[in-house]
């Protein structure tokens, strides 16, 4: 035997080992792939041998090859063989290979269960350790289920090394097999107070990971963590705990109050920057969560900002980066405190480190004011000129636009300046991918700010003239789209329309959709020029114009793009028609007067483009309810006769246009400014409607509008204020009626909101609507909405004030009349909320982990519906039971949740059996899962019960929150609640004192030690389940609602022990 072994080893001597392999690869740099494939062949040979050492060597080599990117999963079976060797050397190599190439879906894993179990239970702690390390990388749901018990046993091993690894391993088990969390949690909690700091730290680590995704389930642990935080000196663990607290405070602001003081102490005392930074972060989170509820919070924010300043001025780039990162968090809620450090942040813009510059850019958003905007933008433009790297330049460009466009151009005082900046950006950044963004900005500004149009059209003419499409890879040519549209739409403002027309007609290589816009706007320009000719009675001029345009349009006629072709053809037909009219009565030519038909055609053409366009939110149409009796599928006019197909496309198009403008203009020109009504009658000739019919229709519409609650009525005084600088009365009317267009009207299902809307001025309405749109998109709760709304209206008030104050400025006022579309700033909030939703990824294993803890220890109360007094009664029973029996059985608290079974007796007996089981649990842990059949009738029962409960809670939850919502709206109740609340507060104090003693002594013992606190917390948790972003009043209300049972509740369960710790 020994001889054989030695012989095997001698054979092996001449095999290639790992070092040889590495060296070989290094010596074959030129044909590495060939060499490796050769090696893999050798390895395959080696794996076929019986000698485990040879296999081991082969697997070690495979592990190296894997790192170079070669698939080695084919050797999976051999890896398992090596793993199963009894020698540690082989085992370690095997597990390493497995951890590198196995994954949870590997089918081979089912072969490993027993082997791994054997290793976990090995006498040698390193066997188990290596198995745990390997397993942590590839554990599958099946393995988790089968091995959960063994790993749990290891959690109470005598060796700290194994305890530590087992605790961390449990997290992986939970992820794959959420059912394990419930039985394992008490043990995990014990480990928080393990004598070994490593185990402690591991437990903190695991709970932090768990709590990060489902913080509400871990609130009851706050006292334990608080104790750890105030006593531990292990910075690693402290950081984790402090991070955990940051996530807990988001759902329990009361905790934040307790935390601030100790955190601030750490901030002032610690020398570890990492700890300091995390403390600041958590303090920020706390301050955000309680916002204004704290008396001295401005002091703590000041301290944070002060400390951050120290970080930012530090020469260490890492600290600087983090400082800026944390600053941006403060910026969201306390912009003022950050603004005092503007100098610093602006200085960071010049930092040599790109990451730091980007962070500083993020902050800039909050730094701008009307005064410094131009200066900051100038600096950013300077940066763009110097900056290398297109990504960074793009980012800068984006930021420039973002800070200018924020809050509907709140800080832009001079739009000519802004136009210029945009044009400069175009010229500066030819390779940017933000062409479309700039185009949108150009359009937006030109449409929204009438005053700047004249300037804009001339700028755009220049742009059209000079813009060179050099590199086709970028998207900057998109600006031509905007430019062409602007010069066409606002051709009335053009100084030299003919020149512009020529620029537009110049043949250029452009994408189809832009050419289409070109053609369309050429017609607009043509109509405008022709009208001028009419006014001047310039017969030769108009003829020349027609010929010129017709000739140039041929270029577009031949376009490959079907859209361009069609548009160009239609345009040609139209102009040819005009041309024919001009030439037909030859006699007129000599007299120089223009034939009447031609005049009419020109007028018609001009009318096609008459009327003001106003910005509309992208989703506005969807919000407009379909009026009664409107059938969009119905023919508006009788369908054209069969020869329609042969009729010119021009005819079709004409009709289309007319009907479209018809609707739009009628809505706009409701009570008929001269200009508009004129156009009305003109247009309706085409539709063969008599003016009487028209008038009737219009009146009917007006009546309907006035009866329709979805239409916004304009109040005369705000309208005139809004159009302060527009001297034209008909124009004013027009604007006035613009608001009749139900663009931003939102069908809101919440009556409360509708009620609140009454009596608010139109302007704030605008913001309100804007906000509602965002809010409805985010599906946030109505309570939240209310809160936001007040904020918004405040903001809008500010805006009004600002508006009047800066009347003398060149600030274009019409900005405030136009409806705010879902612009950049809005888009930002929108996407934010979407992100939040997106976080709940259905594949996230943490979703499954969410429910689990409800059932562990402290959850019974969570199951008791907060509205059902029966539940609380039972809770009382349960509590007394647990108190009398002095049992530490966590299951007692499950009792009230069983109320659905309507049998307290049964529950009690169950509770007893379980208690018995519980007491014997430390010895018979394997029972829990392995021998599920015998002693665990109760366990199974329990499981079923749990499932039932889980199933039941969801609907009840929904009902409850609905219930709460309704309650909320009833004002009468509010006062009542307030009364409850005040009485509750005093109760809190009393209960607090009572609980303290037990809490501190028995922190590890969940149900008995923390009865009251747990109860109330759990109930709170319930509320949080439905809405993470709850507002404080809502919460209080909930508490108040439960106050009859207040003896057993105490809203700030955590506050009690922490108080004691103080």
């Amino acid at each position: 035997m020994a001889l054989k072994k030695v012989k095997g080893n001698f054979e092996r001597m001449f095999d290639k080992n790992l070092t040889d392999l590495v060296r070989g690869i290094r010596n074959n740099k030129d044909n590495e792939a060939k060499y490796i494939s050769q090696c893999i062949e050798e390895i395959k040979q080696e794996l076929r041998q019986d000698n485990i050492n040879v296999k081991c060597n082969a697997v070690a080599k495979l592990t190296y090859i894997q790192m170079l990117g070669y698939d080695i999963s084919w050797a999976g079976f051999n890896i398992i063989e090596v793993m199963s060797s009894s020698r540690f050397t082989c085992k370690r190599i095997g597990y390493l290979a497995a951890s590198q190439c196995f994954h949870p879906d590997s089918e081979l894993l089912m072969l490993t269960t027993n082997m791994i179990r054997k290793d976990l239970n090995s006498q040698n702690q390193y066997d188990a350790g290596v198995a745990l390390s390997g397993l942590s990388c590839f554990i599958s749901p099946d393995l988790s289920r089968d091995l959960a018990n063994d790993i749990m046993t290891l959690m109470s091993s005598t060796k700290p090394y194994l305890r530590m690894k087992a605790v961390l391993m449990m997290y992986k088990v939970f992820l794959r097999y959420p059912e394990a969390l419930r039985p394992a949690f008490p043990k995990l909690k014990e480990k928080l107070e393990d004598p070994d700091p490593g185990v402690q730290s591991a437990a903190v680590n695991v709970i932090c990971e768990l709590a990060r995704k489902n913080p509400k389930n871990y609130l009851p642990l706050a006292p334990v963590f608080f104790k750890l935080m105030t006593t531990s000196t292990n910075n690693w663990m402290l950081i984790k705990i402090i991070k955990l607290f940051a996530s807990l405070t988001t759902i329990e602001p009361a905790l934040g109050r307790k935390l601030t003081q100790p955190l601030i102490e750490i901030i002032s005392s610690t020398s570890a920057m990492s700890l300091l930074y995390e403390c600041i972060n958590t303090v920020i989170a706390v301050l955000i969560s309680i916002s204004s509820g704290m008396p001295n919070h401005s002091a703590s924010i000041q301290l944070c900002v002060q400390k951050l300043r120290i970080l930012i001025v530090d020469s260490d780039q890492n600290l600087k980066y983090l400082g800026l990162l944390a600053m941006s968090k403060i910026l969201k809620t306390h912009p003022k405190s950050v603004q005092t450090h503007k100098d610093l942040i602006l200085a960071c813009l010049d930092d040599k480190d790109e990451s730091i510059r980007l962070r500083a850019l993020d902050l800039l958003y909050g730094m701008v004011s009307k005064k410094n905007l131009m200066e900051i933008v100038k600096r950013l433009l300077g940066h763009m000129e110097r900056a290398e790297g297109s990504a960074y330049r793009d980012e800068l460009l984006y930021k420039v636009i973002e800070i200018c466009a924020q809050s509907s151009y709140l800080y832009v005082t001079n739009f000519e300046w802004y136009m210029t900046v945009l044009v400069e950006l175009i010229q500066l950044e030819a390779g940017s991918k933000h062409g479309r963004l700039i185009a949108e900005q150009l359009l937006d500004v030109a449409i929204r700010v009438p005053v700047v149009r004249q300037f804009a059209v001339n700028e755009m003419t220049n742009l059209l003239d000079t813009f060179a499409i050099s590199t086709q890879s970028n998207s900057m040519y998109e600006v031509l789209y905007a430019a062409a549209w602007i010069v066409g739409e606002f051709s009335g403002e053009l100084a030299d329309a003919e020149k512009t027309l020529n620029v537009m007609l110049r043949p250029r290589q452009l994408p189809g959709h832009i050419q289409g816009v070109y053609v369309q706007n050429v017609i607009k320009l043509f109509a405008r020029l022709a009208t001028t000719c009419l006014e001047l009675q310039d017969m030769p001029g108009i003829v020349r114009l027609c010929d010129h345009v017709l000739e140039k349009l041929q270029h577009f006629n031949g376009s490959n793009d079907i859209e361009v072709q069609e548009r160009a053809n239609s345009a040609c037909m139209l102009i040819e028609m005009l041309r024919k009219q001009l030439t037909e009565p030859a006699g007129d030519m000599s007299t120089g007067s223009i034939p009447t038909m031609a005049i009419e055609i020109v007028q018609e053409m001009a009318l096609l483009f008459a009327g003001e366009l106003i910005p509309v939110a992208p989703k506005a149409q969807r919000k407009v309810p379909l009026p009664d009796g409107l059938d969009l599928d119905e023919w508006i006019n009788a369908p054209p006769p069969d020869d329609a197909s042969s009729s010119s496309s021009e005819h079709d198009k004409d009709e289309l246009f007319v009907s479209a403008t018809h609707d739009g203009n009628d809505a706009i020109g409701g009570d008929g400014g001269g200009n508009v009504s004129h156009s009305d009658s003109k247009r309706h000739k085409n539709l063969e409607l008599t003016p009487e019919q028209l008038e009737r229709q219009r009146m009917a519409r007006l009546i309907e509008q006035s009866n329709n609650p979805h239409y916004l009525k304009s109040t005369p005084n705000s309208a005139s204020a809004a159009i302060g600088n527009s001297s034209n009365n008909s124009n004013a009317d027009q604007y006035d009626n613009i608001d009749d267009i139900p663009i931003t009207e939102l069908p809101l299902d919440i009556e409360g909101v509708a009620a609140l809307r009454v009596g608010i001025t139109k302007r704030s309405d605008k913001y309100l609507k804007e906000q509602q749109e965002a809010a409805s998109a985010a599906h946030s709760k109505d309570a939240k909405k209310k809160h936001k709304k007040t904020k918004k209206s405040k903001k809008s008030k500010n805006k009004v004030a600002y508006n009047s104050s800066s009347e003398s400025d060149a600030e274009p006022k019409p900005l405030h009349i136009v409806n705010t579309t879902l612009d950049m700033p809005e888009g930002v909030t929108l996407s934010d909320s979407e992100d939040k939703d997106g976080k709940y990824d259905p594949n996230d294993p943490h979703r499954a982990l969410d429910i689990e803890l409800d059932m562990t220890v402290f959850d019974a109360p969570a199951k008791t519906s907060k509205t059902a007094s029966a539940g609380t009664k039972e809770a009382v029973k349960a509590q007394t039971a647990s108190a009398t029996s002095k049992s530490l059985d966590p299951e007692t608290s499950v009792m009230p949740s069983k109320k659905e079974k309507k049998s307290t007796d049964k529950t009690r007996s169950e509770h007893k059996t379980r208690k018995a089981r519980q007491q014997s649990q430390p010895d018979s842990v394997p029972d829990l899962i392995d021998t599920r059949s015998s002693p665990c009738r109760t366990a199974a029962d329990n499981g079923n019960g749990n499932n039932n409960n889980n199933n039941n809670t969801a609907p009840t939850d929904a009902v409850n929150s609905q219930h709460q919502k309704k309650k909320k709206r009833e004002k009468s109740e509010r006062s009542e609640k307030r009364a409850h609340k005040s009485s509750k507060l005093s109760n809190d104090e009393a209960v607090a004192n009572r609980t303290n003693s037990t809490n501190i002594i028995d922190v590890g013992e969940p149900s008995a030690a923390l009865p009251e606190g747990n109860l109330s917390l759990a109930v709170d948790m319930k509320a949080h389940k439905k809405k993470h972003k709850k507002d404080k009043s809502h919460q209080k209300e909930m508490r108040a609602h439960k106050s009859p049972a207040s003896d057993y509740e105490q809203p700030m369960g955590i506050s009690t022990p922490s108080k004691e710790i103080f």
Binding site: V6, T19, Y64, Y70, L96, Y126, K165, M273, N318, S355
Partner: protein, 191 residues
């Protein structure tokens, strides 16, 4: 959670790759390549944090790296890890390597990738930080090495001798291989 730990040299050659989330080998290589491109173009005097690349992570993930002589140590972590904490962890890792290999250099990592893995597994397990105390880590590693020595005993001696001889045979080896291994191997021969 730590999602991945990558060590590569100034040319982007992987020296160690540990993924705590499964990616197939191709993707792993792409991630290494992308990470290298992100990290290598940064100066030494800039901050050590990077927003994650496109392949690994997303907005929640950060790359935290340190550059030592010829090697980059990159950790890809999510927001539950403290940035400065991870920087410290990298330092602990490298110092541990330094102690275990006595003056660690890139060659040690090249020829002992497995050993580096074993050391790493004492620091980080399944993406979670296991131990940050260097002395504890070294004790664990030494214990395991002892165990291996015991196991190999006499039966492994001939193989080791041959490997030593093989190593000595190659002239380039004198340049390449790290010398400290030699006396140790000789010591082993005494068994």
């Amino acid at each position: 959670m730590i999602k991945a730990i990558l060590v590569f040299n100034n040319h982007g050659k992987p020296r160690l790759s540990k993924f705590y989330q499964y990616f197939d080998e191709n993707l792993q290589q792409q991630i290494i390549k992308e990470t290298f491109q992100l990290v290598s173009k940064r100066d030494d005097n800039v901050c050590n944090f990077l927003e994650g690349g496109s392949l690994i992570g997303g907005s929640d993930y950060k790359l935290i790296y340190r550059h030592y002589a010829t090697l980059y140590f990159v950790f890809c972590v999510d927001s539950s890890e403290s940035e400065l904490g991870i920087l410290d962890l990298i330092q602990v890792f490298v110092e541990t390597l330094d102690k275990c290999f006595e003056n660690v250099c890139e060659l040690d990592l090249i020829f002992h990738a497995d050993a580096v893995h074993h050391i790493l597994s004492e620091l980080v397990m399944g993406g979670m930080v296991l131990q940050t105390n260097m002395n504890d880590i070294i004790t664990r590693i030494e214990d395991q090495n002892k165990l291996i020595k015991q196991e190999s005993g006499i039966s492994a001696a001939p193989a080791r001798a041959v490997s030593v001889v093989k190593s000595m045979n190659i002239p380039q080896q004198i340049k390449d291989i790290k010398l400290p291994d030699l006396p140790q191997a000789i010591k082993d021969l005494k068994f």
